[in-house]
Symmetry: C2
Subunit: 172 residues, 2 copies
């Protein structure tokens, strides 16, 4: 199955001149959704990689991260926009393609020494994923890998994540 063909191009979203890669067409196609997830998790299942936590980045990273945590039999940690988490949190600022923001995780969500997978739908400039990786490290965790469905290679986000093991299923 050619997953790339199932993703829809939406011109001028979120602003003029940007061609948005709309993954909802893949999500809503049950076979494609399942195959994408199976391919994302395969190496971790094969390796028996000892993943303790999956961090999913708000909001689309929750869709993929939840399934990976379920299948790997480990806990799921939501990395959220500021003010969304109810308990004491750690924060990391970042810049992204369309502005700047911050991510937070609960301070007790990851224990020192835990092996953590970071999951999001899209690798663009890499700022969001880098912030998530740094949050893992702030709490003493080890980033075992960073998984994306889609990578926009012309934005060179992978360069910013060169300290980590980065995989993406579909590259434009």
């Amino acid at each position: 199955m050619d997953l790339e063909k199932i993703i829809r191009d939406v011109p001028d979203f979120p602003k003029q001149g940007i061609v948005f890669k709309d993954i909802t067409t893949l999500l809503q196609a049950g076979d494609a959704f399942r195959q994408a997830l199976n391919r994302m998790m395969k190496k971790y299942l094969d390796e028996d990689a000892g993943i303790d936590k999956v961090v999913g980045i708000e909001a689309r990273g929750f869709i993929f991260g939840g399934v990976l945590a379920y299948k790997l039999g480990c806990g799921f940690v939501p990395a959220r926009k500021p003010g969304k988490l109810p308990y004491r949190s750690v924060r990391e600022e970042y810049t992204l393609e369309y502005g700047s923001n911050a991510l937070e995780v609960h301070e007790d969500s990851i224990r020192p020494g835990e092996r953590v997978l970071v999951v999001d739908d899209l690798l663009a400039t890499g700022g969001t994923a880098l912030a998530a990786a740094r949050l893992v490290e702030k709490l003493g965790g080890e980033v075992a890998g960073i998984e994306f469905l889609v990578e926009l290679s012309f934005l060179h986000g992978r360069d910013r994540l060169s300290a980590y093991r980065v995989h993406s299923l579909i590259t434009y």
Copy 2:
């Protein structure tokens, strides 16, 4: 396993006087997360319920909805806050415990006659889930059930959803 005990009370969030049910402590405990999901999906797997789509409500509904769609072998549809979806969408306004808002789904996300499961983490006043159910019906789908992890029964959200088959794992 007593899932109820794993959920954390956070007083005065998001505002003074509210005791917030923090499900992140359940998410991050791999065994509890897995058991909660298995219990949510069991009847649909047992019944061979013929679910065509799972609608997950932004943002925490994505975590549970993604896994249910994966395990039921069907497509996943994100119901999102206004302005987040890139393609042509239908919208439904609703009021909720802490204000008012709207939900949107893509107009091609559900086909007429499809059987759809709506999933969210929390049933409070029921406004959000009712909006999601109405979006399904606007597109000609049939709401086969509405699944929640937690129900705050003292807010009587179930009354507003009386037209539907509603389940929750944990009731306060």
